[in-house]
């Protein structure tokens, strides 16, 4: 029983962290129809920034700065690597994303020397707490609530602000939105800024829980978050959040059985099953081909 609860707790917590990354994937996809492969690496860079900055300044300064720098990074990636390719075939943009991911990982390897780095201890969040007989960190308990608050704020932003309306318009029809006088580039930048900011917050929660950061530390959470976004129906924010929780719990349930080898494969099997039953994910819109 204790064990079952602990599995559920870590599943929900990890799911919450995936959700924060998955939103970045799903928003970018919704607008650009681009799988932003570099997103997981932005997440990793946010972690590394946290290490380097908090080594030289107190946490209350370094953490907002991490957020800011990650946002700047996300913005720059979009401007340098994706914007020039807006008229190019979709595959080229995706390759550009893979290239950026490559570049970030290799640069991180170069700078850190490939050694795992240790994330600083954040007071309170890192403290241990006992729940129903299993001890865990506070961050584990707080993550799902924080995610819910952030997602609510985000949906408010999308549904009740001008920028949010513009985002929805661009997602619906790129060209018509442009004709209506929406400044596409600004909207896309805003999307990347929001995505990166959430990834930065996600990295603080994730790496407080799992403290070592290697240059590939973003790859696995990135991939899982992406899977979560697809399960939920890529392009849909509530879908990404629900998908992330499903993936997080599912992964931890498989880890608790004797088939641990399949902890990744299991999530993919679930993904394929959902795609076969519902080809655009749980909350995805139906796409009809125009002739």
């Amino acid at each position: 029983m204790e064990f079952a609860i602990s599995v559920l707790i870590s599943g929900i917590s990890v799911g919450g962290q995936y959700a924060l990354i998955a939103i970045g994937y799903t928003m970018v996809y919704g607008i650009l129809r681009l799988i932003n492969f570099a997103h997981g690496d932005v997440f990793m860079v946010a972690g590394l920034l946290g290490i380097y900055l908090s080594a030289s300044m107190p946490l209350y300064l370094s953490m907002p700065l991490v957020l800011l720098l990650t946002v700047v990074l996300g913005f720059c990636i979009e401007r340098v690597a994706y914007k020039p390719l807006r008229s190019a075939p979709r595959m080229s943009v995706m390759i550009s994303a893979i290239g950026v991911s490559y570049l970030i990982q290799n640069t991180a390897t170069y700078i850190t020397g490939g050694q795992p780095m240790t994330y600083p201890v954040i007071p309170f969040l890192s403290d241990t707490v006992k729940i129903a007989g299993t001890s865990t960190k506070w961050v584990t308990i707080l993550t799902p609530f924080l995610v819910l608050v952030l997602v609510l704020a985000l949906t408010q932003l999308i549904h009740h602000t001008k920028a949010g309306m513009a985002m929805r318009a661009v997602a619906k029809d790129f060209e018509t939105a442009q004709l209506m006088g929406i400044r596409i580039n600004t909207i896309i930048s805003i999307t990347f800024v929001i995505g990166s900011a959430l990834a930065a917050i996600g990295s603080m929660l994730y790496f407080t829980n799992f403290q070592a950061i290697t240059p590939t530390a973003g790859a696995l959470p990135g991939l899982r978050a992406f899977v979560a976004a697809v399960v939920g129906g890529i392009g849909s924010i509530p879908g990404a959040v629900v998908g992330a929780f499903i993936i997080g719990i599912c992964e931890n349930v498989i880890k608790s059985t004797e088939f641990t080898v399949f902890s990744d494969a299991g999530t993919f099997a679930l993904l394929i099953l959902i795609l076969v039953l519902k080809p655009t994910g749980l909350f995805g819109e139906k796409v009809t081909d125009k002739v």
Partner: protein, 401 residues
Amino acid sequence: MIQQKSKKGAVAALIACTALLAVIVLLENVSVFLPASSVPNLLKPTSQLFAVLKKGAVYSLAAVSMNLLNGFTGLFSLGQAGFMLLGAYTYAILSVPVADREAVYYLYGGSAVNFSFQDMFGSIFGTQGVGGAVSMGLGVVVAMILAGCVAAVFAYLIGLPVLRLKSDYLAIATLGFAEIIKAVFQWQALGPVTNGANMIKSFPTFSSFNITDASGTVILRLSTFFPFLVSMICIAMICLLINSTYGRAFKAIREDETAAEAMGINLAKHKMLSFCTSAFFAGVSGAMFAMFVTNAHAKVYTTTMTYEILLIVVIGGIGSISGSVMATFLYVACSEWWLRFLDSEVVLSNGMKLPFLRAGFRMVVFSVVIMIVVLFFRRGIMGDKELPDLFKKRIRKEGAK
């Protein structure tokens, strides 16, 4: 490797390929014919040049087979590494000599599959001398074909549910299947067949094709020639397919699925055909990859590998076979050879250290180069043109002058 319609062109392509093979054999055998002291470092059999050529030959087949699917049929699949893994393991499992199985499967006290093609042919043609060579060669070829077949069969099974999906959903589903296949091969419970987490080795590799005399001295090197030959044959087959009615149907599907269907093209059938053919050749290239790294190890066939091949395809030009081939050699040579000097610190004569140069810098420079290529050559180095097209255009232009 060259797309040709006229007979004349086909002959020219054949001549070009034969010439290239001859050059490879010559290059490779310089070290055999000349005395050791006068062979330049670069042409010694273990030089980087040959490692790059071999890997390039293997990867170019993988890239072309991916191009068939992604470039010519417009099906965005990321399952390449999974199919290569299937090919590599099928080849390895069927090729390890029975005598070596106990050592290779040391954790499991021997293998569940006590059979290898080399031994089977060995019992027909003999195991020594020419007979041994024939049975080894036949064993390798049969195992490689089977490797392709196994990959194709799996592709068929995977394709049944998955090919109905559209674009990115198809991509992520195939990627998922590659991961599932990898996990299955790493499962300890299947250890007696797949050797679990351990690598399978001791099967015939490229260097097994070097012809030696009785004392073991090499008299003719064919270890680079062999992967080139196999890749060329396979790529030629892909070319023939692309230029056939099927190929034109593939391209129609790429341009517009709905229109293609309206023209009477059976979408499901053609998509499946393209998917399985691509998987077959991916399987063959996987088998060759296993021969190149001299082992089959599931851990290597990651999504990163798929991305690498996709990168090559796009750099070469989506829908250009000669582009994929050229991009492969450039890519492999850059990442593993030409830029390697960036990894070691250089101390100048006045004792100054050059900045930035240390382990890891090579990959940073390499990824910057890739980004430049992707951003400034957005259609890849060849676009959807083939090598002969360029020559033709030039001749026409010069003629006009």
